[in-house]
């Protein structure tokens, strides 16, 4: 850490904008999740309201979580630490604010197109071509702002958080174009088995090249700052960074182990899924050894508490993910709610927690005042922690019921009543997460917009 706390380098308009974006869209995203979960227990609740059928609500939930809540949340913290660790002003706050604006236009278009029944029908690549262009443009602006800031740095050494942020932005911009087959505006897909291979290459990289590196970048910034200790190992930083880019990009085909794709490609995917232990543990050992003996400091800062919890979730979701890539495990877990549970540990427990942690860590430093309510943030922490652990238990249980029942010859239809109760509990937990988003939005808005007269 080489920044100087006393030098105020920026007004952080971009970071604030992404804070508000994330807090607002977290409400939308979690509401859509709650709505979808409720429709699974009461399918006629929204009968014949076309825009709200499950098949349109689910992709909206997923896209809003990925691009509305988590990514902007992580970008908020990133746009805060970027100029600080590079000891320069952000290349252009105006461009940053414009990016925030464009980002929100993109999100509104995504809501409008998905709910009105316009979809490319490919998971994580549902958004139609005009919206794709907005996504790519937004990422291009982020890349440009990042790159220009890096070149104007006055700090000669580039800290590991910057590596991850730059790589996440540029690689996601590229894989988004590739995965959405952006050169074919009429449908955005290849044909047949090659489409499945490309889709899951891209789909897995939304986690591997966007959420994970951004989250790791934020954790690498927040944890050493919070515990006031230097990073444990530069070598582990290097190993984790390069291993992540090499290994994570190989594993998408583990979604297709039961599909007729080339066997050698399955072998590559399974092998690298196991090898994910390397980048995961390199990062975790580094961050946990940095915090070793200093957990009191983590506990004292609500932002750091969210972030550190996120790193623990990262451990669980990654070990589980490596295990789930084994064909014998997939016989039971494929096609059912086990995978949905896995997704919630990853995106809510790991990157969502770190996104919120980043927000709560940087907000007081951006505004120069403490959070509006530390209690509310702490309350939200527990709601999300209970929610995500609950999701894990319930959805894993449902997955095991479904998977084993199917293997035992029970039809999908017949298993539905067996999982109904768990779906009710899941919707209850969804209500918990949605409520926490409301608290978070209120807290963040009150923190940023203080009553007139209070000095900045």
């Amino acid at each position: 850490m080489t920044e100087t706390e006393t030098i105020k380098l920026s007004d952080y308009a971009t970071a604030k904008g992404f804070c508000l974006t994330s807090a607002f869209w977290m409400m939308v995203a979690t509401f859509m999740g709650l709505l979808g979960a409720t429709e699974l227990i009461a399918p006629d609740m929204t009968e014949n309201i076309g825009g709200l059928i499950f098949g349109r609500v689910r992709p909206l939930h997923v896209n809003m979580v990925l691009f509305g809540f988590v990514t902007p949340g992580l970008l908020a913290a990133t746009f805060y630490f970027f100029p600080r660790v590079l000891r320069t002003a952000l290349y252009s706050e105006k461009l940053g604010v414009f990016t925030v604006l464009l980002w929100n236009i993109m999100l509104i278009s995504a809501v409008a197109t998905l709910l009105s029944g316009h979809s490319q029908g490919r998971e994580y690549a549902e958004l139609i071509w005009p919206v794709d262009l907005l996504v790519v443009a937004a990422f291009a602006l982020v890349v440009f702002n990042f790159a220009m800031t890096v070149t104007r740095r006055t700090e000669p050494l580039i800290y590991v958080s910057i590596w991850y942020a730059c790589a996440a932005a540029v690689l996601t911009m590229l894989t988004y174009c590739l995965g959405n087959v952006i050169w074919r505006p009429d449908g955005g897909a290849l044909t047949g088995i090659p489409d499945a291979i490309l889709l899951w290459f891209y789909g897995h990289n939304i986690f591997g090249l966007l959420l994970t590196p951004l989250s790791i970048g934020v954790a690498y910034y927040v944890v050493p700052k919070a515990v006031k200790a230097p990073l444990y190992s530069h070598t582990l930083s290097l190993l984790g960074f390069w291993a992540l880019i090499v290994v994570y990009t190989h594993i998408g085909t583990h979604h297709l182990l039961q599909v007729p794709v080339p066997t050698w490609l399955k072998v590559v995917a399974i092998t690298d899924s196991i090898a994910m232990v390397i980048p995961v543990m390199a990062f975790l050992i580094n961050i946990w050894y940095t915090a070793k003996g200093r957990l009191g400091a983590i506990h004292a800062d609500i932002g750091a508490k969210f972030v550190f919890t996120g790193t623990i979730m990262y451990f669980f979701v990654s070990i589980q993910g490596s295990m789930m890539a084994l064909p014998q495990v997939q016989r039971v877990t494929h096609f059912n709610n086990w995978v949905v549970g896995h997704a919630h540990i990853g995106v809510l427990g790991f990157s969502g927690m770190i996104a919120l942690g980043g927000l709560y860590y940087v907000l007081p430093r951006i505004t120069g005042r403490p959070l509006f309510s530390r209690f509310l943030a702490d309350f939200q922490y527990w709601m999300i922690l209970i929610g995500v652990v609950g999701f894990t238990v319930v959805l894993t249980t449902v997955g095991l019921i479904q998977g084993n029942a199917w293997l035992n010859g029970e039809t999908v239809y017949r298993v539905l009543p067996e999982i109904h109760l768990y779906y009710v509990i899941r919707a209850g937990l969804g209500l918990l997460i949605f409520s926490s988003a409301l608290f978070g939005f209120y807290n963040i808005v009150r923190t940023i917009f203080t009553p007139a007269g209070e000095a900045k």
Partner: protein
């Protein structure tokens, strides 16, 4: 290692390019020459329009089109092959089975069953948690039905033809009145099944279990009192059988069992042999016999060795 901007940006992009070559480009050239499988045919305009509706409404989030070697349900007779997907843009393998796999759905049911099912899935399938699609309107539902009936391509065409052939005969029989209709159904059963009484004794517990099965599988068409006036009835032709007029028409336990097991192709009556095991079929049959037909032949045959559980 000194991490400069060039190392970070160029390094990560070069790695990505190398990985894309290995896991996207090479597999592309390995798989893009896949030959169509023996069941493949191209889709009609209506089927293509239906596929678009399927995509836009997110059917893929609950229905896979990817039969695996370990599957038991609908379509499990044929493991998916790469050559089945050569015209699929995008491919719709799916990642969840909240509903059944649809790879081979074409011809499993006649069109009118699909219409009732799309208007509200609980009309035909009371346990279903699928959304109602009546809001799409008739034209779109017809296209969607055309697409679903094409799943399985030539294999589906064969099944659809079979549905159409038997539908004509079932309608002809129905239009001759209830007596001839029942006679027609009985005539198409293997003789040993016609004569076979329900071998198990009637019991309160068994009737309660039969009642549960009836509610979960039968009530949407045959109605809560077995008169064939369930909510799906207005959409189905020939309409669901009215059990309450079948007394003294020779409906044996064996006939009930056989029809529940195999369904009546051409009508909306599906086969339930994948959903229900033997005991459940006997018990729902006896429930229908006792409560709706008001005549059961359960345990009337005293031949054979008594089963160990008989009272």
């Amino acid at each position: 290692m000194r991490m400069t901007p060039a190392v970070i940006f160029a390094g990560s992009v070069l790695i990505l390019a190398a990985v894309v070559t290995i896991v996207v480009v090479l597999p592309f050239y390995h798989t893009n020459q896949t030959k169509p499988s023996e069941i493949f045919r191209s889709r009609t305009a209506a089927e293509k329009a239906g596929r678009r509706i399927y995509i836009n409404n997110g059917c893929v989030y609950c229905h896979s089109q990817s039969i695996r070697t370990l599957d038991w349900g609908i379509g499990a007779e044929r493991i998916a092959q790469a050559g089945d997907y050569v015209a699929d843009r995008p491919i719709l393998l799916g990642s969840q089975r909240t509903g059944p796999d649809l790879s081979q759905e074409g011809g499993e049911h006649p069109d009118d069953w699909h219409m009732a099912h799309f208007v509200n899935p609980r009309y035909t399938s009371p346990l279903s948690i699928m959304p109602a699609f009546e809001f799409l309107g008739k034209k779109k539902l017809e296209n969607l039905t055309a697409y679903v009936q094409s799943l399985g391509f030539r294999a589906a065409d064969k099944r659809v033809k079979r549905q159409e052939k038997w539908k004509q005969r079932a309608i002809a029989a129905y239009e001759q009145g209830p007596v001839k209709n029942v006679q027609w159904i009985h005539d198409h059963l293997p003789a040993p099944w016609r004569k076979l009484p329900n071998p198990y004794p009637t019991s309160d517990a068994g009737l309660a279990r039969g009642h549960k099965v009836y509610q979960d599988f039968c009530m949407g068409c045959h109605g809560p009192i077995g008169d064939g006036m369930g909510p799906a009835q207005p959409y189905l032709y020939p309409p669901p059988l009215n059990f309450t007029i079948l007394k003294d028409r020779g409906v044996s336990g064996g006939i009930l069992y056989y029809q529940i097991m195999n369904g009546i192709t051409g009508t909306a009556m599906p086969y339930f042999k994948k959903h229900l095991e033997s005991e459940k079929i006997w018990e729902v049959g006896n429930y229908v016999a006792e409560y709706f037909i008001n005549q059961s032949d359960a345990d009337t045959d005293d031949g054979g060795i008594d089963a160990a559980y008989e009272p």
